[in-house]
Every structure is written in structure tokens, then in C-alpha cells.
Symmetry: C2
Subunit: 107 residues, 2 copies
């Protein structure tokens, strides 16, 4: 777990910065941010793709693309059951980012 490295503790090395930046970049799209928030706030913790598609005025392939991006960076996981695919949050991934950004107010 690397001891929850805070951003203010010491400068990030290039390798770690590159990995983290990928996750932030995934969150750096309004649609993806809303998708994460939809999944995170859903009772039961998992959401069918159809539920997400219905929340946007975007084509279904576009939503699928965004889901793929979020899955690739480790923010979501997916599972197929019957005809439907369900996505759920990876809380540890968000937690790591939260800890990283948790800069002490008192310097």
C-alpha cells in the first residue's frame, strides 16, 4: 500500500506520477466523473450499463468506451450476469487518491 503517500510529503518520482496521472486523467472527463458518482452512490454498489446509458444523451458505444477507461485504471470492475454487465466501484482506488490529496491545512 506504500504507506499512503501524501502529495505534500515529498515530490513524486516520475514513474509514480505517471501512474497516478492516468487515474486522474480518467476522472478528468465530465461524463466519466458522473459515471463514477452514479456507481458510487448507487444502493448495492453495482450498476447495470443500461442504467448508466439512460443517464446520458450519448450513444451506448460512447458510454462503453468511458467504462472501459475507468476499468483500465482500476476505478471500476465489471461482472457479467445473464445478459447484463454490472459495474462496481473499487473503493480502495478512490481512497488512495483521497489520501494523496489530503494536504494538511497547517503547513
Amino acid at each position: 500500500m506504500r504507506c499512503s503517500p501524501q502529495l505534500a510529503r515529498e515530490p513524486l518520482d516520475a514513474e509514480r506520477a505517471a501512474a497516478l496521472a492516468q487515474v486522474f486523467k480518467a476522472l478528468g472527463d465530465p461524463v466519466r466523473l458522473r459515471i463514477v458518482s452514479i456507481v458510487a452512490s448507487h444502493d448495492g454498489g453495482e450498476v447495470c450499463v443500461c442504467d448508466i446509458t439512460g443517464a446520458f444523451e450519448l450513444s451506448q458505444p460512447t458510454i462503453s468506451h468511458h467504462l472501459k477507461v475507468l476499468k483500465e485504471v482500476g476505478l471500476l470492475t465489471s461482472e457479467r450476469r445473464a445478459s447484463w454487465v454490472y459495474y462496481r466501484l473499487v473503493p480502495e482506488a478512490l481512497g488512495e487518491l483521497s489520501a494523496l490529496l489530503d494536504v494538511p491545512v497547517v503547513a
Copy 2:
């Protein structure tokens, strides 16, 4: 302060998601993430541009561009003193993001 809206509390509306996504997008670049971490971890809280430029193998205009992006989304502020420009962190901005991503482990 809008009661520190957690991502898991309720789905983000489009407007708020767009604003937040801009900040995450700013952090979604390895160079910018390292710049933020350099500024955040620097004693005294402020860093001269020359200190940042020296930490990368990038041209000075490129660093200046990244600093501008971080400043535009409210993560950094700058002040000119004599010939040098100093950048410092806006802790509240990082804090808001941290609170947003602070998803409770127990669903």
C-alpha cells in the same frame, strides 16, 4: 463550501461534474502532478519557477504552460517579486477534491 459533497452521496449534476473534471484533468498529466507535489512539499510553501524548470527535461515555455493550467483551475497561485515569479499551493482546492473522493469503506 457546499457541505463537502462526497462522490458517493448522490450523483453529480452535469454542471458540477464539468467544473470538477477540469481540475482532475489538470492533475491528469504527469508533469503537472509532479509540479503540484514539488510545490506542496516545498518548505515555505512557495517555489520559484526556476526551481521547477530545473526539475524537468522540458523547455521553459512548456513548464510555463503547465503552471498556467494549474493556476487556471485554482490549484496554484502566483506572485511576482522582483524578477522572479513564485507559485504556491491552494490547499483548499486539494482539500475539496480529497473530500470528494473520500468514499466510506463500509458501503
